[in-house]
Symmetry: C2
Subunit: 493 residues, 2 copies
């Protein structure tokens, strides 16, 4: 029965429902009593913690430090950067009062009208404004630059349609905000962080991504360039996995942040910002998982290995316990995270299904025959294959296997993407092929009008102008005008 | 000149001003544009990160997992636990709208009256209500228990008088929320976490604390017992460093969280919650620091060792660089965090003052004579003493020294506390002695009336009913009625 409860809608039947089922049944997250806000459950949060630890180390290795800025932003701050206010002020949580009082008409509490704020506070949708109002006091001279701050925080955007991890009113993220003396330095920083993210996505999350520049209409409100890295989900749709922005001097001008440069001249400061969010957990799920449950890359899995004993009686269990104890020690010494589940109130079959659902990369099982033969059964979550191997040097075998799995699921995702990626030259073909899902490289004339038309006709957007790959010029598939290079189209999350 | 800018108000002149000066000048935090909300600057945040890492490891070692619950709490949730609403609903940030729009009368944005929430949302002042409303769905049977969750989060309490780290409208904390099948188990958990905190305070922060039970009037709104650990600041005032609450079945009843026990009977779940906040950074500062700046315990210092070269010319600098490189390697191999500051645009004297202000536990300096003699100058921040030692086995010397400093600053704080702690038997003497600051152990009749009278007369509160130490009964110093044991009085932050 336990097995049935855990059953997921197959991807082929309803990909969207499969995702929702999986998030709930694998105990990753759930909707809360507050509309659009999720509860990240311990297993989901453990994945986020793994991501945080790696990213934080990478940020620090590249010279960044963490800090913390206020949750609230005075309403007037949002108006200071014209594009920014258009992009963010519209859907946000507004704090208008600072006190409740007992309801004079009966039970409960009501807002105290006397405790109205002079100026409303916005719960941060992103922190450029509050941070640049702070940097103003930190920066006088070129000697105070660069400032390379990051913060791990919650943010709120009042989304109308929400979906666990992919789009929620409140989400967790990190946001880097850097200040530089020159344009070149800021541009380099934006690209550096883009590349750091791409490295993280590909080598830790095993998600192949395409990096590029966003078009004018898709870029961050207030940015000169928004660099993105785009992943393909198994249904062929694109998912924007994170962004890095070159902000030019826009926020410095909005908050009057200047410095005296080496030539003793007053100048506005150059800025970047960059962030990834709990949405990456959604990307991870939708890239690798299957109809049996999660498939997690070993580097991100809360447990990399689970061991289950299969025994006839207490005596045999205690022999297995003893043998497994050794294996656990050896694996831990190699830095492998391992869980031994010898709980007696659940059957091996239930445990197998459970850890399959939870995406533990490697499952080991030891039974009576294994005891006799000094062997153990090794099951891979990614391929669902099993083999019986010797316990001698099992720790070497497992660490190699984890590397292989990490690489294999990347290759699998990469091949899927390649199989669903095409080049198209005519708009007729585009409209036909976009219905099949997948990525389409096509020529575009560079105008927002054409971009908008394509979006209206096909629901496909320009995911990015790729930074790498084919740069051959051509003719726009819609207007026939000159195109500098093919751009990447897809329908997206 | 740099030195002068950094000068602090001496503690003897104005302790409160000294604290404010130090927080600002050591670059720990500053006030933001949002009333009562602070910016935690990178150096201050680095201290918080160290605390987080140790605490998080300790929580996990005791079986806890992290999760994340919504920032917002529906207004009606707060009313469900009677004491809780009294304690928290009164001063809180209330979200009433979810959209801004362009001001029809001109520039900027205004709240869109059409985007009014049906039910107002409260920015969490603490998360018992939202978490217990969630636990309701997680718990059916005793097999689902215990639940041992912690979250790292920001919270908001609309304080009227704020002070950096000590009392701010928004602050960072961790809050543990556990659910248990029996009263005994929950009580044990509350005490376990209290002891974990005490271990952390004493062995990591080097802050001696007194642990005890809060009185009825001082306990957490909704708790049956609030356990606290209280530290003495250098001015003799007490600071509540953290708390652990036994919540009984109050929140389970408020949110109807029941389970089927082993006897197949429906029962309400038992609860605890426990937390420490960025206030601990304030406690750290006020316990150890001096008129020259911060004094940080080595386990919490962002850098444990700084090395400064003293050179006549480029050639000598490059010789010193080479020699120091070796020392840095050796120290890092021992797990010591070390910074080599050979920046050429600042003089050694400026660097010495800077690292003294920042509380780096050990400063090493190497000059020409040291090069010749294979020696290095070692300066301790805690005692401000210097000595010249051999470079051979310097890493052993330093790691031992760091342990000694960690211990020494604890002993220093402990001795100060002992010298300012007295027992008093008459109320006359109490009123006289409380003016001198410090801790007073006195007998109390156990009533809120007497407690309130003492507070009104003297501004002193009962910090706790100590769990350890002298338990001899006596007579209340005010009413002469029976007292079970002496309790701890002090004026407090």
């Amino acid at each position: 029965m336990a097995k049935e409860i855990k059953e997921l809608t197959p991807r082929s039947e309803n990909y969207s429902q499969w995702y929702n089922d999986l998030v709930i049944k694998a105990d990753l997250a759930e909707n809360s009593a507050v509309r659009g806000c999720m509860v990240i459950k311990p297993y989901g949060y453990a994945i986020w913690e793994k991501m945080q630890r790696y990213l934080d180390d990478m940020f620090k290795e590249t010279g960044h430090v963490n800090a913390y800025f206020p949750l609230f932003i005075p309403k007037s701050f949002l108006s200071k950067e014209a594009d920014h206010v258009e992009g963010f002020a519209k859907e946000c949580a507004v704090v208008t009062h600072y006190r409740l009082k007992n309801d004079p008409n009966g039970k409960g509490v009501v807002v105290d009208p006397e405790a109205k704020l002079e100026e409303e506070l916005i719960v941060r949708p992103t922190s450029e404004t509050i941070i640049w109002s702070t940097y103003r006091n930190w920066i006088q001279s070129y000697r105070d630059l660069p400032i390379l701050c990051n913060q791990w925080a919650n943010v709120v955007r009042w989304e109308m349609r929400t979906r666990l991890f992919l789009r929620t009113a409140e989400f967790l993220w990190q946001e880097g905000h850097t200040a530089h003396a020159t344009k070149e330095e800021a541009q380099e920083e934006a690209i550096r962080m883009l590349n750091l993210y791409v490295n993280f996505a590909e080598n830790y999350l095993s998600i192949p991504v395409i990096k590029g520049d966003k078009t004018e209409s898709e870029k961050f409100p207030g940015a000169l360039n928004t660099y993105t890295f785009e992943a393909m989900m198994q249904d062929g749709k694109a998912l924007q996995a994170g962004t890095s922005h070159f902000l030019g001097q826009n926020f410095a001008k909005a908050f009057d942040v200047t410095f005296v440069n080496q030539e003793n001249k007053q100048e506005y400061v150059w800025a970047t910002s960059w962030g990834v969010t709990t949405r990456l957990i959604g990307a991870l799920i939708m890239t690798h998982s299957d109809d049996n449950g999660l498939v997690l890359p070993p580097k991100i899995a809360p447990y990399q290995v689970v061991i289950v004993p299969i025994y006839k009686n207490e005596e045999q269990l205690s022999q297995i316990n003893e043998k497994v104890e050794e294996i656990v020690c050896k694996l831990k010494r190699m830095g492998v995270s391992v869980k031994y589940d010898n709980a007696e109130n659940k059957k091996p079959g239930w445990k197998f299904a459970e850890y399959e659902l939870k995406g533990v990369p490697v499952r080991l099982a030891m039974g009576g025959r294994d005891l006799d033969n000094n062997t153990i059964e090794v099951a891979r979550r990614d391929t669902l294959t099993k083999e019986t191997v010797s316990c001698d040097n099992i720790e070497i075998y497992i660490t190699n296997l984890l590397d292989e799995i990490q690489n294999n699921i990347y290759q699998k995702a990469f091949k899927l993407r390649e199989s669903k990626t095409i080049c198209v030259d005519s708009y007729e073909e585009f409209k036909e092929k976009i219905e099949e899902g997948g990525f389409i490289y096509a020529h575009w004339d560079g105008t927002s009008e054409t971009e908008e038309k394509i979006k209206e006709d096909t629901k496909a957007t320009i995911r990015c102008i790729p930074l790498e790959g084919d740069k051959t010029p051509g003719k726009c598939m819609v207007t026939g005008k000159t195109s500098a290079q093919r751009v990447l189209f897809a329908r997206s999350y």
